[in-house]
C-alpha cells in the first residue's frame, strides 16, 4: 500500500466521520486537526480511529495511539501508515 493511498483513504474517512463540508483531496496534510475546518475533539479522534481500523481491516495499537502527538492531518496519516505497515509485516 503506498503512502498516497493511505493519505487519500484517511482523508475520505475524516470527511465521512466528521461530516465535513470539504472534498477529501482539499484537506492538506499540514492542516491542524483542531482548525475551524476540522474541529477534532478527543471523542471524534476515537471515532475516527475506529473507522480507520474498519477501513484498513486491522487494529491500531493502544500504546501507539497514546504516545502519538496528533496535531495535523499528516500526523494522523503517519499513525495509520505506521500501523498498517506493522499489520503487513505481521
Amino acid at each position: 500500500m503506498n503512502g498516497d493511498d493511505v493519505a487519500n483513504r484517511v482523508r475520505k474517512i475524516m470527511v465521512d466521520v466528521l461530516d465535513l463540508s470539504l472534498n477529501p483531496e482539499d484537506i492538506g496534510l499540514g492542516v491542524s486537526l483542531y482548525s475551524p475546518q476540522i474541529q477534532l475533539d478527543s471523542l471524534h479522534l476515537l471515532q475516527l480511529l475506529v473507522a480507520v481500523e474498519d477501513e484498513f481491516g486491522g487494529r491500531i495499537d493502544d500504546e501507539d495511539v497514546m504516545n502519538a502527538d496528533l496535531r495535523t492531518v499528516g500526523d494522523l496519516v503517519g499513525l495509520v501508515r505506521q500501523s498498517t505497515a506493522a499489520l503487513e509485516q505481521a
Binding site: 474541529q39 475533539d41 478527543s42 475506529v50 491500531i60 493502544d62
Partner: protein
Amino acid sequence: MKATRNQYLLDADDVPTHWYNILADVDIPTADVRRARPAAAEQGNGVSAPNIPLSMYRSSVGKDRFVEIPHEVREQYQRWRPTPLVRAYALERALDTPAHIYYKYEGTNGAGSHKLNSALAQVYFYKKAGAKELTTGTGAGQWGTALAMAAQAFDLDCTAFMVRCSFDQKPYRRVMMELNGARVVPSPSPITKAGLGVLESTPDSSGSLAIANAEALEHARSLECGRFAVGSGENHVLLHQTVIGEEALRQLELAGEFPDVVIAAMGAGSNFAGLAFPFHREKLRTGAGTRLVAVEPEACPKLTRGRYAWDYNDFSGTTPMTKMYTLGHTFVPPGMHAGGLRYHGSAPLVSALYDSGAIEAVAYGQNTVFEAGALFARAEKLIPAPESAHAVRAAVDEAMRARAERRATVILFNVSGHGLLDLSAYDQYLAGGLSDHAVPAEQIAASLAALPGQSHAGAMS
C-alpha cells in the same frame, strides 16, 4: 429438618468470561448520544491524543453482543467473584409479604462496592496503553477507593479528587485510598483552575462530582502519561459492570426463578446497567414482562425531574457533550449521604432506554431511604451503603405492593456496597437528625438554563 437455602453461590470458574454489550440489542448509534464540543477549536484546547484507550473504546461502541474479558482482569475478578445472590427470607418475613425477594451483594471485595469491577478493567486497559498515572473524581469515595486498589494491583499511580462533602463525611474512605497508594485531594481544590474558579465564587462549596471530574481532567492533562478515568456513565463502564447481571441470571436459574422486577440505585447508571442490562437482553429474547427500575435520590432527580438534552459531563464544560437526562452540569446537589448518587446526569445508554420507555425511574427522600436501609440491616444482618439503600427502599415498596395484591412477585435488587463506612449517616438517622433534600424547582430551572447552546429540550437533536 432440611435447611432453607438462602444463598445461591457460583464457583470461581463461573466468573463470566464475557461482558454483555447492550448495543447489540438496542439501536443507539454512538453519534446520537455523544458529540464533540462545538467550541473546541475556538477555545484552542484540542487534545493531541485520546483520553480513553482505543481498545476499551472500541469494545464499548461496537455491535458484538459479548466482549471477552481479558484474562488478567478475569483473574482479578476471581479473587472475590462470583458474588452471592441471597434470598432475603428474613426481610420477607419482616414485611409479611408473599413476594420472593432476592438481592445480589457486591460489597464482598476490599473496596466494598461494585466499582472494582470497572476499576480493574480500566486500569488494565490504561496500563496496556502506556499510562503511568490515573486521575479521577469520586463522590462518596467508592469509585476512588476501587480505582486506588486497582491502580495498585496493576502498579499505576492514582490521584483522586474527592467531593468535599464526602471528604468531610467519610474520612475512612480517604484513608482507604491513601492506604492503597493514592493521593486524595478534596474538591473543589486550589490546585486546579476549575477548582479555584469554584472556590472564588463559592468559598464554602460542598462540591459536586462534576467539579471533581473537571479538576481530575485538568490535572490529567498536566501530566506526561496521565489519563482521566471515570467510574460511571461511559459505555465502557456500563459494559464492565454487566458481570453483575450475568451472574445473577445464572444464580436465579439455580433458584428456578426469573424476576418480575429488577431494581438498582442510579448514580450515573453503571450500577443500574450492570444488573439490569443482561435482564433487558433476556426480556427481549423471551418476551418476559420484567420491569427494570432505576432508583434515584430526590436530592438529585435527573431521570424523574431532569431533561433529555445535550450536556457536558463535567462542571467546566471541558468534556464532549452527551445526550442524556440531566439536571444541568452546573447543578450542585445538596450534601446528602448517598454521595455516589449526586451526579447531575445519566449514562447515555440508560437515558436512551428511559426515553424509549424500556425502563422506569423512581425517586425517594433521604429519611425513607435510611428507614428501609435500617429495616434491611436488622432483617438481613447486612448494612447497605446509603446508595444501595435506595434500591432497598424500592424493593420494600414492591414487596408491600405484592402483599396488598397477594402476589408472589419475584423481586431482584442490587446491594451495590456495604455501609460500614457510612455509620455516621446511620447514626444521624437513628438520632432523627437527617434532612430530606427535595430540590426546589427554581434550582433545577436555573441549572437547565445553563445547558450548552440552548435552553429547551432537543434543540440540538
